[in-house]
Subunit: 327 residues, 2 copies
């Protein structure tokens, strides 16, 4: 089977490619080819048991998506996006990539016609929700994005459901919670501190906590994100009916609980590297974010996340730090 990945150079995309290379199969079928796409050239891992081609282009440009789907891949992962902050700062760019790009990709598949009906896995986001929220957001709560990014993702979800209903392809949309612990350098995302307060202390560095410890949020590890994608790629679509977009499960914890986990796993000295420095701007952004989900549908369809934040930290130490941290 052939797999096509948009956004293959991103953090989750790279981990997905690694997993596909490791397993060599998807849903019991042998992978024969993977096409990796991003706006910058994705890296092809060594030693893959299948052919890998890499492509760098703007998939929102007319005709671009058509070329990429022309070989009729069996599974298409659509992970490409202009992220929240950038789509807010540059409306036209977010609109062009997140909305036009997604639509052009979906239409490129539709226009092949001829019975071609690949599984399309679309990564949406909890940014499709906007305050005020109920205590836990249920599977039938309406989409009320408060960012252009969230709006563009919600539109992608609606198109995915309609294109699936009409038989243009077989789509599943997954709303990822905040992915934690993100490896790499600190970034400027408002949500960056959720990873930073774990990652930096484990590296022997100080981390700044810009919000009070009672802030609650939902997390899943990068490993869970890849698990969600793999499961969505192979799940029997008939089980979903017309509602093709799912809130993924995660671990809902307060920042205090995150820090307790860190203390349990790495000790008081590591946890002491977190310094509270309230940032009113970040606090007001975080106010508008969902805290907890009741992701019943996804769980009942077999999507699984971690059961505790301890597990999320252990995965980070295991995958990114070779099992060791700076005490």
């Amino acid at each position: 089977m052939e797999v096509l990945i948009f956004g293959a150079a991103g953090m989750v995309g790279r981990k997905l490619v690694e997993r596909l290379v490791q397993e060599g199969h998807l849903g019991g079928r042998e992978i024969t080819k993977a096409i990796l796409h991003d706006v910058v050239e994705p890296q092809a891992p060594q030693g893959a048991p299948f052919t890998i081609t890499t492509h760098a282009s703007d998939f929102s440009a007319p005709g671009d998506a058509e070329k990429l789907v022309a070989s009729r891949p069996d599974v298409i992962f659509h992970l490409a996006a202009i992220v929240s902050g950038e789509a807010e700062a540059d409306f036209d760019k977010g609109d062009r990539i997140n909305l036009d790009g997604t639509r052009r990709l979906f239409d490129a598949i539709r226009l092949i016609g001829d019975g071609y009906q690949p599984r399309v896995v679309f990564t949406s986001s909890i940014a499709v929700f906007g305050a005020p929220f109920p205590e836990a957001i249920g599977d039938e709560f309406f989409l009320t994005p408060l960012t252009s990014y969230g709006t563009q993702k919600a539109i992608g979800e609606l198109l995915l459901a309609d294109y699936t209903r009409r038989g243009f392809f077989d789509g599943i949309g997954i709303r990822l919670p905040t992915i934690c612990v993100r490896p790499g350098k600190p970034n400027k995302a408002a949500s960056g501190f959720f990873s930073g307060i774990i990652r930096e202390p484990l590296n022997g560095q100080e981390a700044v906590l810009p919000v009070p410890e009672d802030v609650r949020h939902t997390h899943a590890s990068p490993r869970s994100a890849v698990n969600f994608l793999m499961h969505a790629a192979t799940l029997d679509g008939g089980k979903l009916g017309a509602r093709r977009n799912l809130t993924m499960p995660g671990v809902s914890v307060t920042v205090a609980e995150q820090i307790d986990s860190l203390r349990r796993i790495a000790g008081e000295g590591v946890a002491a590297r977190i310094r509270l420095e309230p940032d009113p701007t970040i606090m007001s952004i975080v106010e508008g974010w969902p805290r907890r989900f009741d992701a019943q549908r996804a769980r009942s369809l077999g999507f699984q996340a971690e059961n505790s934040f301890d597990e999320i930290i252990r995965i980070h130490i295991d995958e990114e730090l070779g099992g060791k941290f700076v005490e």
Copy 2:
């Protein structure tokens, strides 16, 4: 003030224009000009106390919407749409008018910039909802359209909310229930019988009822539809917050209750002109339609519909039949 109406040649559009001509004011401000647009030339009523210009064109064509908004109208009513059945039969046409057209119109307004921020009233539809439903659909129930038309309307709602949040314009979206009694000839819409079983008997003609009498549905008169539009045009947007799309109120009745009303108002002889002739296709379409709404937000913001189906019938007899019917 200047008013621009897209879809001015449609049933609701014509009634809206008549009302504006009658009143000469909108929200206490004098109307100085009305621009009427549709794909066919709209008719300008005689004796209007303001200038009327009429335009026929395809507003989804690049550059078309720009010309229509260039005079910076204060209020823009967007009623233009390819209806449900046609958008389902001709995907490309529905996509082009309902999605691209709406987006091009919204962008034409956005690109004027320069502080221009008109009130935009967008007619959405209860087709944004799809079965299975709760007993009454609340204001926070999610949008799960089961038609391409409903999908395109839901996308319009999302864009309207985001463009308003960003200050590109000041939008309000209103989800109309089924408008009943529709004047004129029977049409082929699956929902046509809801009007037909009232309109035809009052005209001395037989009407066919294709569904069982226990089917429940929500209705509002054409007069209410115009009231909704007028209220939406002048409502203080600050009262809505970020959630700019509202389910309009209506009268939720079973078909049996519709027929009881007809019998009460026009007599047994008129009601006896309804003949039950079950149509499995129409029955299965109607199965997927919402039955009842809890339109609390709209009511609390001052939107009002009829209180009974009797009232809906009386409005039809009054407005369309000059107060008389065939006994």
